[in-house]
Amino acid sequence: MAATARRLGALIPLGIFLALALALAVGMRLDLTTIPSALIGKPVPDFALPPLLEGGQGLSAADLRGGGGPVLVNVFASWCIPCREEQPMLMDLARRGDVTLYAINYKDRPQAARQFLAELGNPFTRIGADRAGRVAIDWGVYGVPETYVVDGKGKIVLKHVGPLTPQAIADEILPALRGAGR
């Protein structure tokens, strides 16, 4: 009897660990996709940012509420390494021709940001320069890169935290863009 109890007792640490590992595995899958944003389902905040590129177009709330199609808004910075990784994927999206990409350049020196785009390509039709990071706060950005999908009426329908992956584009971004277009 005592021996059996001892055997069972010795299994307890293993059981606790396995439960924990399972929860961590689940948690890891959830993490990148489900950080909720208080702003999902809400209209974009009021803002207006000057253009990053000379002769380019800036970005403001009016551009997003104008009633055009759904757009993707990417928050990036030249000093952010994961941004470098996702830039080619954004270029691919731009080449498809049916996705409109806007960007907010976050806490960056304009010159460094321009060089970043010259080096890796510029998929964005509008880029607002948020040098102080004030607008990003209103958007609820807490790290770069982040990617938002905004429907034609200026409502945020999706927020993706962290670098995009081909899988995230296929499973989240494109469905959200399609859903918002309807």
């Binding site: 021996a3 001892r6 055997r7 007792g9 010795a10 299994l11 640490p13 293993l14 660990f17 396995l18 924990l20 590992a21 929860a23 961590l24 595995a25 689940v26 948690g27 890891m28 959830l30 993490d31 990148l32 489900t34 909720p36 000093w79 390494i81 994961p82 806490k107 960056d108 020196r109 460094a112 807490y142 790290g143 962290g162 670098p163 992956t165």
Partner: protein, 663 residues
């Protein structure tokens, strides 16, 4: 060329580790000395190869070789040399390489100096060490290769995060890793003992020095990290219950428990399976810490670039290592029955209480750190657990721990009665109440912190009373007392010093948290602010260039209550160009009784935002922690723990166990 050599050396190290993790184990099972002996040269070879890889990366960092991606991402030609060197372990990839290097150093140390270990145990310990190395080397080679080249090489690199460009980077991670990886040694000993089916006092004695060394390093590492946060983040906090801080605190708590339970196993041959379990858990918590930092599961100021693939790898590694060892434990533990019996009031009982409280404290920290994550995983609900949770749960656990900590060392083994302690108890109570009343009178409350101060004093008084008894102070005359003091074992001195250090740290934490005074306002040059008897005058503030930044530097003078200048402070606000980021460099003047802490910000219409803190007993926090580590080191230098001679003599005396001729 050099990066390729580094990369190739890592592959060779992996191959050697594979050999070292299998052949000696097989040899130990078959009692074949030739196969077992493979472990020693393999461990030393592994050190050579891993060191080659590490120095290859360091070379690339020092010469700013921008054909290497890791250098491009973390360095810049303008970065000062110290940070180019320390930058070797400033990135995710480099820090893993440091991890593996330390692992290899420990493995080689066992191979080179482990002559006193029984052959089969040594072979198995080295094999388990090598398994851990295989896991981490695979991790580096498959998902975190630091030697990836870029073509064409960019003209300059992206620079290192300015928060990391601090002497803290040179010390904090290596000490932390010495601690984490040091616990891999105790883990290897535990697994080897479980494979052998034998845990006895001799085993506990071999494990002690590794545990102690790892514990000292981790203590210093955590203290450095906290000090770094204190002066670099610029708002005077020293512990934030941040998940990554908790990740280092969890193995520390478990390691502290292990340190104490191993004593019981060594001296009294009790708590065998518990000690083994703690050895496994301590290292598992180190792995959990690694997982939490690198997987992006928890968002934190410390998190490295988030990469889900890496998280999956570390989680897999953890499942194999921890799951495997706990399975082994479940099979073997029931047969590990402890020997010594003891009464409810005895040294052993005190140590068991210590273990329960520390284990509960560790569990509390784990729950507080992982609960938000688990809740999210199970229900999708988001919560955040902050300092209030830890203050309500962790702190109350420390109270009985500290009360018992002062008494435990006075109790004899097996059976004790408190009546024998009454003289010492009266002394301790008198000192505690006296100091607490004094603090109450001077500060005017609040009551809980006054009790906290009392707790720290109680512990220090307990250490003093214990030392006085042991040396016969005031009873046998100065000469005899001194002679007895010199004759006390170093392990005993080490314990007293470490306990007193904890008491000092408690005083610092309580006083700093409760009685910090702060001033916040706008000052123009020439204006002054008054705080707690000090007058701070802003002399000037101007822009000065640094090696790779441009700073706003203020010149402040602090005059004490007696009109004497006590400190000149030069806080800075630095603007780094690559990557563009602003950091605050607080200026801190340490006095024995308080820290004077000042921060300056960008001017608004010619006036500078200034924050000025007077933080009573702040230096005691880190001083106490360093004294604790010093106590550990003194204990480590005890003859009994020296790897080598004394064990051979003892082996005959205590243990047929040392020569495991298994029936």
């Amino acid at each position: 060329m050099i990066p390729e050599i580094g990369h190739f050396a890592l592959i060779l190290a992996l191959v050697l580790a594979l050999v070292q993790s299998s052949v000696p184990l097989f040899g130990a099972a078959r009692r074949d000395p030739r196969l077992m002996d493979v472990a020693r040269p393999a461990a030393i070879g592994q050190l050579l190869f891993v060191a080659t890889a590490f120095f290859a990366l360091m070379h690339a960092q020092i010469v700013s070789d921008f054909t290497v991606l890791n250098v491009v991402q973390n360095s810049n030609t303008a970065k000062p040399l110290l940070y180019k060197i320390a930058g070797t372990w400033g990135s995710h990839e480099g820090s893993l390489l440091l991890w593996v290097l330390i692992l290899a150093v420990f493995g080689a140390a066992v191979a080179a100096f482990g002559d006193n270990l029984p052959e089969t145990l040594r072979a198995r310990v080295l094999a388990v060490q090598a398994m851990i190395a295989v896991g981490f080397l695979l991790f580096i080679l498959l998902s975190s290769d630091p030697f990836i080249r870029v073509f064409p090489p960019p003209p300059n690199g992206n620079g290192l995060n300015p928060l990391l460009q601090d002497p803290g980077l040179a010390f904090h991670p290596p000490f932390l890793y010495l601690g984490y990886v040091g616990f891999s040694m105790t883990f290897a000993f535990a697994i080897a003992a479980l494979i052998e089916g034998r845990v006895d006092p001799a085993w506990a004695r071999w494990v002690r020095p590794w545990t102690l060394a790892a514990w000292c390093a981790l203590t210093v590492g955590i203290a450095f990290g906290s000090l770094w946060a204190y002066y670099e983040l610029g708002w005077g906090g020293f512990w934030f219950w941040d998940p990554v801080e908790n990740a280092s605190l969890m193995p520390w708590l478990a390691g502290t428990a292990l340190l104490h339970s191993a004593i019981v196993t060594e001296k009294r041959d009790a708590l065998r399976s518990w000690t083994v379990l703690l050895a496994i858990l301590t290292f598992s918590l180190s792995l959990l810490g690694t997982f939490l930092v690198r997987s992006g599961v928890l968002t934190s100021v410390h998190a490295f670039a988030v990469d889900p693939a890496r998280g999956v790898f570390v989680l897999g590694l953890m499942v194999i290592a921890v799951g495997g060892s706990l399975t082994l434990y479940a099979i073997r533990a029931p047969s590990l029955q402890g020997g010594g019996l003891f009464a409810p009031i005895s040294r052993e009982a005190g140590l068991v209480l210590n273990n329960w409280l520390l284990a509960t404290a560790a569990a509390t920290v784990i729950i507080g750190t992982l609960y938000p994550l688990l809740l999210d995983a199970l229900t999708g609900q988001q919560v955040s657990v902050g300092p209030p949770f830890f203050n309500k749960t962790f702190v109350p656990l420390m109270v009985p721990l500290v009360i018992a900590m002062a008494l435990g060392p006075m109790l004899p083994w097996k059976r004790a009665d408190l009546a024998g302690l009454s003289a010492r108890l009266r002394f301790m109570l008198a000192v505690t109440v006296g100091v607490a009343l004094f603090v109450w009178g001077v500060s005017g409350g609040p009551i809980l912190p006054v009790l906290g101060i009392g707790l720290g004093v109680w512990l220090i008084a307990g250490v003093a009373a214990d030392l006085a008894t042991r040396t016969g102070l005031f009873r046998v005359g100065w000469h005899e007392s001194l002679r007895r003091a010199a004759g006390l074992p170093r392990a005993s001195w080490g314990m007293s010093i470490a306990h007193a250090g904890f008491g000092i740290a408690i005083l610092g934490i309580v006083a700093n948290t409760t009685w910090t005074q702060s001033y916040q306002g706008l000052l123009r040059p020439g204006e002054h602010a008054e705080l707690d008897g000090y007058t701070l005058t802003l002399g000037s503030a101007e822009r000065v260039p640094g090696p790779n930044y441009d700073a706003l530097r203020a010149d402040m003078t602090v005059v004490g209550a007696r009109g004497r200048v006590v400190a000149r402070l030069h806080p800075e606000q630095r603007d780094y160009a690559v990557p563009p980021m602003q950091t605050t460099e607080a200026a801190i003047h340490h006095r024995l009784g308080a820290d004077l802490y000042a921060v300056v910000g960008s001017p608004q219409d010619g006036a500078f935002p200034v924050r000025f803190y007077v933080k009573p007993l702040a230096p005691w926090i880190w001083g106490g922690a360093l004294i604790m580590a010093l106590g550990g080191l003194i204990s480590l230098s005890d003859r009994r723990l020296r790897v080598g001679a004394p064990v051979a003599r003892r082996r005959v005396k205590d243990a047929p166990a040392a020569h495991p001729a298994r029936a």
